[in-house]
Symmetry: C2
Subunit: 405 residues, 2 copies
Amino acid sequence: MSDGIPAGWSMSGVACGIRGSSGEPGRLDLAVWHSDRPASAAGVFTKNLVFAAPVAVCRQRLHGGHGHGFQAVVASSGNANACTGERGLADALEMTGAVEKRLGLSEGTALVANTGVIGRFLPMEVIRPGIDQACQAADRRPQSVENASRAIMTTDTRPKVSRRQMSLSSGETVHILGMAKGAAMIAPDMATMLSFLFTDAPVSPGVLHALLRRSSARTFNCLSIDGHMSTNDTVLLLANGAARPGQELHGPDLEHFAQAVEEVSADLAGAIAGDAEGATKLVYVEVEGMRKESEARQIARAVADSPLVKTAIYGADPNWGRIVSAAGYAGVPFDPSALALDLNGKVLYEKGSPTAFDPGEISRFMRETNPLVFRLTFQEGSQGCRLASCDLTPEYVRLNSDYTT
Amino acid sequence: MSDGIPAGWSMSGVACGIRGSSGEPGRLDLAVWHSDRPASAAGVFTKNLVFAAPVAVCRQRLHGGHGHGFQAVVASSGNANACTGERGLADALEMTGAVEKRLGLSEGTALVANTGVIGRFLPMEVIRPGIDQACQAADRRPQSVENASRAIMTTDTRPKVSRRQMSLSSGETVHILGMAKGAAMIAPDMATMLSFLFTDAPVSPGVLHALLRRSSARTFNCLSIDGHMSTNDTVLLLANGAARPGQELHGPDLEHFAQAVEEVSADLAGAIAGDAEGATKLVYVEVEGMRKESEARQIARAVADSPLVKTAIYGADPNWGRIVSAAGYAGVPFDPSALALDLNGKVLYEKGSPTAFDPGEISRFMRETNPLVFRLTFQEGSQGCRLASCDLTPEYVRLNSDYTT
């Protein structure tokens, strides 16, 4: 148990050759996670109407977002299997089928995710042997955690892993292991967010789903790199109960577990924002004093997604007018005359007017500080949020202006 | 009448020194338009909750968006008079008051607009003598039309003027003169859209407002440079009836007039998109086959505002996946399997799958063609729209990353 890997779980990451065609032979590109017993599973997915084949398969298997009896997840990078029609769906099902067969599992017990270029068919001729190899290689070595987390990377510069363990009131230890790939700005078409959380906690599917939705709303869904929603975003949480078979978590144990899941999710979301390539700054937009958390998020997102706000931050330009005016078009009613804005505690704007700050001094501060925290304080209620984002740079434009050709 | 200027209208543009502090002494920065008799007026304004003082004054005077008895408009560039609180409101009222006094008009008969940097107080010490000068200079020379249209420019590279004339069934000639300043990408904080249309047609305020709202929805509101909604957007239409005093337009005359207003508006909106600085391409996003025009606009806007779509266009990258996936997150329900996409008639995607186009060939075509027209065809209904936009370039980031400091 001291390896920090949840009991009953094994995994692997292999280089099967999906990336070979993009000039990266030998790069890890396929991962498999395997539980030695049936697990509860919950998922949250992209809200994009144009969603990828693997998302369709997961949604179907987790009808309503959760289910029981799952024993494997397979994921690959380099190709999103999105906008690929019937053939894409067949390929996704072939991937899960191959994993189930190779691991001796019942049909329908594997889940699947892909990330990469949209609109190209999966190279099944390399994926088939890749799945064989990955299933054979799956074990509990630290190197396998590293390999699996690297195999889902696209433009990420580093793997993203987070773990927690907690003691149950009955004495057993529960482990949570999470890994994610990020929304690196360099090529956000590939920058689908994939996050997989595995645990040996005993939790029923419905409860698992409720707590995953709640923690994702505050972490993975409070993250905006460029406002373009992917076709493949997937967060999966699987709990096989191996830490204490036959007796579900409840009461304080369940609360602690939910807290630990949210902490792992926050770690991974922060790692994604901190690894946004092309960006020079990690930016938090905090909103306070709103009626609802959802309204706070809507405002934070309008501010974080404005190219004018993002470019001003890149240029260390304390252009608070862009921030305040972005809040104004977010579609959420508020009293503008009661609005205040501060940057890392320095008040730039209050009661509908700018304060007498020294632009040169604030600009120097912006240049030297990372992360930057812009806080908008309203007087509408007591709800708020914290959204992770980044700046918009010439490097982002350069990297994204020539991607598929 | 052969000068193309509506009867009863005179105008001027002067350099009063607002731009002096930004290193542009002598640049035209204040315009006045004057009608020798009371006119009907209608306005449409920014929907931003954080709106500028001049917008507040116009809204109040045109309660509900229209009113009668107006005789002047004053507009200036270089300072938006936005986020300036009570003092900004007093300054805006002082501007209208000075115009009314200088032209011998009743109180409340002038309208006002500003464009420029947010959050700085107007330099009233130069604006006061500027208004005197502009009121004195107002006349009907072609040079005055040129001067007025130049005085409202900020980062526009050229003035934007459009005219139409039409004959009424009773024989008189009606003139429409429109001028606008654009959303140049170089510094869209200053890129408030201001459009002023003047006519000698006899039209009541309510009718004028209805037709202005309709034509603006299809022209000025079908325009997106970077998705950041200004605090100052203003479209005004004033009709003094001098072409045929005492007898309002109706029937076919009114229909022709509405058509001419829409044509002038479309000219000006196209000129704004075509002059988006930093951009290398004029881009039209057309949506067809939707249930409602508003839904079509919502989809077109999501596509046009995606930084991934904009950067791909800059790079001549036929990355249709970005366009299709942006449509998917617009918040409008549709059947993705029935969606088709073409670029200037070349089909890139249909029935949920990409077509077998040659990326290199399409990329060459994109490099050589301007404007680019991306058409999304849905199977939901018979409504559509055409939205004017542009690409996102490193130059845009450079120009916008150091603006106020």
